[in-house]
Symmetry: C2
Subunit: 449 residues, 2 copies
């Protein structure tokens, strides 16, 4: 592996940074790949990062920014004036600039757009008009296209002239820039030089539209093993291209998002985010949870008299609520992931809810038996054991039903199920767990000791 | 969009399937892209899928299987005899066959290997020797390589002869098959025909090793925007290649896995898995959770006398435990995702644990204040409110500390933190929540009404 040299340089750079020797850090980073510099910069505190950006040769920065996550670039340049920001972004690809501008506050964004040249500003304006999460927001405009009546030899000449700017895939268009075919370099190299592109190209290429969701583009790229996917307008005119590496980045971000949403976390909340930042981002969701916990507590409050009589109920009730919560999380995860991956549609919802509630009912019977058996062995009270077992079965059933129904209902209402389902469903299982267990204990209280 | 025709065919196929007209379904699928057939097959019940596979022309199946998830292919062919299985897999790429064989029971796998020719069986044996999750398990062996002293013109001839089998990236090797460079078709097309490959190639290419984790390969591919990554042995000899589309599939699977593991789910447990299958897969984890719930209940049991005296404690105690669990899940998610994405290493663990416990302490102070204020307003008992607030602060701190320390410790012990952390940490926050709240209530019991 030839990477040892780079690792040593990065280690030294880290040490030098510790001593605030920014110039020396910049020297150590100079021979490295822009992607390595980008990773280094992304992981140092913002203040150090800004000082480093000030001493790295400006010509090198666009390549580095191209490899940094857009929000990190936005943070880095946020304190510069609009003209400086526009200059730094000039060498970055339009799609990435759009992502960086999206991460800036609106007024700053407009200032940078004004500081750009008229042409780039118009391109940016068009990209920024597409909503976040749409293909339009990550597409790369103005892809390399050649007219269909060119010969293979002429096409090869064009590509040679493009040199390092030549793309991986060549799109073929007719006289009115309608997308009619796609050509790989392989096809060009293999074909007889005198043939026309329309004869050697792959016709009717699969394409997407800028308003489609990015997941749709990811699915097409992954299904057909593409390295790029063309983007066309409603008249099938070639607008832009979505590259597989942008899709890779998007998928990694999206996987984090799904996990994060289920825990009520914001995507900007990372391991080494500053404490006040994390506190601010996590507090709202925890406050919502506090409210739902109070709701569950008020169910217990209804039965406070019963607990006053039989304190042992307070020992067992968290078991019923907790197991319902665990089972509900399993059902939720299966349903939400199924919706995200397109394995499940809302139309199939009744079937899914039926399957999940049957599964959890069966699980509840097994777990209820275990729990009742344990309680009987320990407390020697058949009625208490029976109430525990029955409440467990009921709550597991509710967990399966609500764990499936809530995310499906939210999806049908066009609310992101990953975001809101967890709180709603565990509130259900907490309230139902406490309610059914303490309720049954009340009904059968004359058999309790 | 030229996809309407395909959509209509798929809709008709779905209706025909409903009427069990398997032959007509196969006819409708015949003109479609193998990836579309694969997706259709993956979504129909196993029994229908097997009947369809029996009527689809065998020559077409390898291309379809290549696009289906490996476990789905394994299910589909599980009922056939080894010779049939080996014949069906003959046209599928080695890396995908390895994944399919991994999804079969061990004895079936050996039977298929025996039914294969000697050459393919040896290749398979080598791929299967690499552990799941390693680069070796998804790499494509025997990539296209050319000797470094070939001229550009000779290289182009070689590629033309390879025709449709030509790769996207050409590796350049020396006389002993050491990887010395990489060449894109673009570079070949652009270069002067008489130059040697060693003069026009990109030297010292970035490569990976078969024993590296797949995430590492994904990070390299994503960082350097590669479409393929070469795999070399310890002597830098070219072994295989990892393709970006395999990485795309892997990332999508991995995102599901992470979510699933945190909920204690098996990857084979999908929305429409049969009920007994789901029950069997979910039961073990729920039993572990039942055991930990009993542990938490036994903490409450210690203080049963106190609850006997003040039943109101049973009303409030779930709030303390529940909020700790929510906060712990947030910390866990941040830490586990950080570990997965490589943003966090075990060495930085102390700093991460410090950050998370500080964050949760701050959150605990805010939430504790809210909870105490609410309790005071409702119950008008200052001591009870104080005990609730203090227990909340303590438990949130424990949530931050254990939410960070447990996954980091598991990772240091080489146990997958996504799998086991959740159970351990919520047991901590449940026991600590009940213990501290009821313990403080005992200490200050003379102030309680």
């Amino acid at each position: 592996m030839p990477r040892t040299k780079e690792k040593l340089a990065l280690d030294s750079a880290r040490r030098m940074l510790h001593h605030r020797a920014y110039g020396r850090v910049a020297n150590l980073l100079a021979p490295l790949h822009p992607a390595e510099v980008a990773e280094f910069l992304s992981r140092v505190p913002l203040d150090d990062r800004r000082r480093l950006v000030a001493v790295i040769p400006p010509a090198r920065l666009p390549a580095v920014f191209a490899e940094m996550p857009a929000p990190a670039v936005a943070d880095t340049i946020a304190n510069l004036d609009p003209a400086q920001q526009a200059a730094l972004l000039a060498g970055v690809t339009p799609a990435h600039v759009a992502a960086i501008l999206r991460a800036l506050p609106t007024e700053d964004r407009d200032a940078v757009l004004n500081a750009m040249g008229e042409g780039p500003a118009r391109t940016m304006g068009e990209l920024l008009a597409w909503p976040e999460g749409s293909v339009g927001a990550i597409m790369r405009p103005a892809p390399f296209a050649l007219p269909e009546d060119l010969t293979v030899e002429q096409a090869a000449d064009h590509l040679r002239r493009a040199g390092e700017d030549a793309p991986l895939t060549v799109y073929v268009v007719d006289g009115r820039r309608h997308l009619v075919g796609v050509l790989s370099f392989r096809q060009i190299l293999i074909a007889a030089p005198g043939r026309r592109l329309r004869e050697v190209m792959t016709p009717e290429p699969i394409a997407t539209r800028p308003e489609e969701p990015q997941e749709e583009a990811a699915a097409l790229i992954s299904r057909y093993d593409f390295i790029a996917l063309p983007v066309v307008d409603e008249d099938n005119r070639l607008l832009a291209v979505v590259a597989v590496d942008d899709i890779l980045d998007m998928l990694q971000d999206r996987a984090t998002e799904d996990l994060y949403k289920m825990a009520g976390l914001d995507a900007g909340d990372r391991v080494f985010s500053p404490v006040p930042h994390s506190v601010r981002l996590r507090l709202p969701w925890l406050l919502v949870n506090l409210a739902t916990a109070v709701l569950a507590a008020s169910v217990v409050r209804v039965f406070q008299g019963r607990i006053d009589q039989y304190a042992v109920l307070a020992v067992l009730m968290p078991i019923v609520a907790g197991m319902g919560g665990n089972a509900a999380t399993q059902t939720l995860t299966v349903i939400i992931r199924g919706l995200t991956l397109g394995e499940l549609t809302v139309r199939e919802g009744v079937r899914a809810a039926l399957k999940e509630s049957t599964t959890n009912l069966a699980l509840g019977l097994v777990l209820g038996l275990f729990a009742a058996g344990g309680a009987w062995l320990f407390f020697r009270q058949p009625a208490l054991a029976g109430v525990l077992g029955a409440a467990m079965v009921a709550n597991m059933f509710v967990a399966g039903l609500s764990g499936a129904a809530v995310p499906l209902a939210l999806r049908a209402l066009r609310i992101d199920p990953a975001m809101a389902s967890g709180v709603v469903v565990t509130t259900f299982t907490d309230c139902c767990g406490f309610g059914v267990f303490l309720g049954l204990a009340t009904v059968f209280s004359r058999y309790l000791v």
